[in-house]
């Protein structure tokens, strides 16, 4: 099985590398999301990003004029996907004040409006519905060298930011009031963190689709949460889990000819179930 996989390396190495890098990047960024218990955030932002693509396709359908046609280009669709992802991430992360809707409600609203508008916009499009379907179901099989470079740089930049800032980020995520008290500009840093996550999600959705993006954002961090005794080690455990599961799922999906993204998410979900079991056993042993 492994020999088979290695023989496919020269053909698919860009896809494999992009898949693994996206997994590592999103697993890192998923730690604050999971720590804040905003699991649905990833689904909502992914959906908003998909709406950006649908909007581009819809605008390209409006007229044959060059201006409108540009919206249907790969470049424009990527820009729209990333823009909507960042905007929705910033909107979902904004502070809820007394008398306003909670963050959870706003996240739910983003998910619902983006889901419904996506279908409404593309329902009468004569072509390019395939692009939307691809977003929901694609695997990063068509990833290029550019994707590998983009995600390598993004992952390295994220690690470089997390090393000196992990304590500030954790305090901000876990106790915003205390963070403000010790002089951290909570509004600014929330915008930076969630804008960064939005950018990563937008880029990832364009390359690997909604399922893989959402899965990698929350599942490895949830696995890490169940295996670690503290939050900080989750920043190591989550990307490690994403990488190991990514490699195994690449081998399995090639061998059994299954879609790589679906295989990876199914495997991550199975490992999460095992981690739940492990935590439960640990709790039982402690109680005894």
């Amino acid at each position: 099985m492994i020999g088979e996989f290695l023989s496919s390396w020269s053909l698919f190495y860009n896809s494999y590398l992009a898949t693994w890098l996206i997994g590592i990047l999103l697993a890192l960024l998923g730690v604050p999301v999971v720590a804040k218990d905003q699991i649905f955030f990833g689904a909502a932002v992914s959906q908003a990003s998909t709406f950006g693509v649908a909007l581009g396709i819809g605008l390209a359908e409006l007229s044959s004029a060059e201006f409108f046609q540009w919206f249907g280009s790969e470049q424009a669709l990527a820009i729209l996907a990333v823009s909507f992802s960042i905007l929705s991430a910033l909107f979902a992360s904004r502070h809820s004040r007394k008398g306003q809707e909670s963050q959870e409600s706003v996240t739910g609203w983003i998910f619902l409006i983006a889901s419904s508008l996506t279908i409404l916009v593309v329902s009468h499009c004569t072509h390019d519905q395939e692009h939307i379907h691809r977003l929901f179901s694609i695997s990063p099989i068509g990833a290029t060298l550019t994707d590998v470079v983009v995600f390598s740089v993004f992952t390295l930049a994220t690690v470089a930011l997390l090393i000196p800032l992990n304590k500030r980020i954790l305090l901000l995520v876990l106790d915003e009031e205390m963070a403000t008290a010790v002089g951290i500009n909570a509004g600014f840093w929330s915008m930076v963190i969630f804008g960064w996550i939005g950018l990563a999600l937008g880029l990832s959705i364009h390359t690997s689709g909604m399922l893989y993006t959402f899965g990698c954002l929350v599942l490895p961090a949830m696995i890490a949460k169940n295996l670690c005794r503290e939050v900080r080690p989750m920043f190591f455990a989550a990307p490690a889990a994403a990488l190991v599961i990514g490699i195994i799922s690449s081998i399995l999906s090639y061998h059994y000819d299954h879609p790589p993204a679906h295989t990876a998410v199914a495997l991550q979900s199975a490992v999460l179930a095992a981690a739940w079991l492990w935590r439960w056993i640990r709790y039982l042993v402690k109680s005894v």
Partner: protein
């Protein structure tokens, strides 16, 4: 501002949430080593003033001056009313308390020393490696105080830290704070509803009522005349709360 002992000065300060004015024309001066208790009914603006001091709320008008040694916030400790930590998140007492060092330039060794010192001060020295969620309510509250102390603050602000604590836990927490005040000359601002706590431990009291603040030394402010304006209870009840502690203070020539 020349006075080296003045840590906080508030002049004609007004604070509001949007158009909803909570406090108006507040004047207050907190000096090094003092223990201030902010008391008053719910919604009277105690926590709002704390937010103003911490910079989480901009003044509508007036001035709020913090000593230069506190301006970087390195020497400010804050204990919130409660910590809304995600209860499914794994964390130890050590990690939880060390979160308080965010933004500080300190070596690993220094952080460890600060951690041991802070946990020792709140009586949790043997709990470093314990799961935070296995602590009792009182121990968690002390861990919150340790998280503020780990910064080695000169100025400690506590927002109703004794809420939900039973009497022994409340007493243990207060004793830790009084010792810190005596040993480290730590300046404390303590928000509470509990007047007997204020009567026992405060050097100065600020009473919040209808958007304004009456403040000064404990003996001047904590009297039945002032308090009867605040709380619609018989004077005898108020005397019963205050007098035992005031007698004790007089007998000891200062703090009880």
């Amino acid at each position: 501002m020349e006075d080296a002992d003045c840590l906080l000065k508030v002049e004609k300060l007004s604070l509001a949430y949007g158009h909803n004015r909570v406090l108006a024309d507040v004047n207050l001066e907190v000096r090094r080593g003092q223990i201030w208790f902010f008391a008053g009914p719910n919604g009277s603006g105690k926590s709002t003033l704390l937010k103003g001091i911490l910079g989480a709320l901009r003044p509508k008008s007036g001035a709020l001056w913090l000593s230069p040694e506190l301006s970087s916030r390195e020497k400010v400790g804050y204990v919130p009313q409660r910590c809304d930590l995600n209860p499914t998140l794994p964390t130890t007492v050590r990690e939880f308390v060390l979160l308080g060092t965010a933004g500080l330039r300190a070596s690993r060794k220094d952080r460890q020393a600060r951690l041991s010192w802070a946990l020792d001060k709140v009586g949790l020295a043997d709990f470093q490696e314990r799961d935070y969620w296995s602590l009792s309510g009182g121990q968690r509250q002390r861990a919150l105080v340790a998280r503020a102390l780990v910064r080695r603050p000169r100025f400690l602000l506590l927002d109703e830290p004794t809420n939900g604590l039973d009497l022994p836990a409340e007493e243990a927490l207060l004793q830790s704070l009084v010792h810190l005040n005596e040993e480290e000359n730590l300046t404390i601002v303590f928000v509470t509803h509990n007047l007997s706590l204020a009567a026992r431990h405060a050097t100065h009291v600020a009473i919040f009522l209808d958007g304004s603040v009456i403040c000064g030394p404990c003996s001047e402010v904590l009297n039945t005349e002032c308090l009867s304006r605040l709380y619609p209870v018989p004077t005898a009840t108020l005397k019963a709360i205050i007098e035992p502690w005031r007698s004790l203070q007089k007998a000891s020539g200062g703090q009880a």
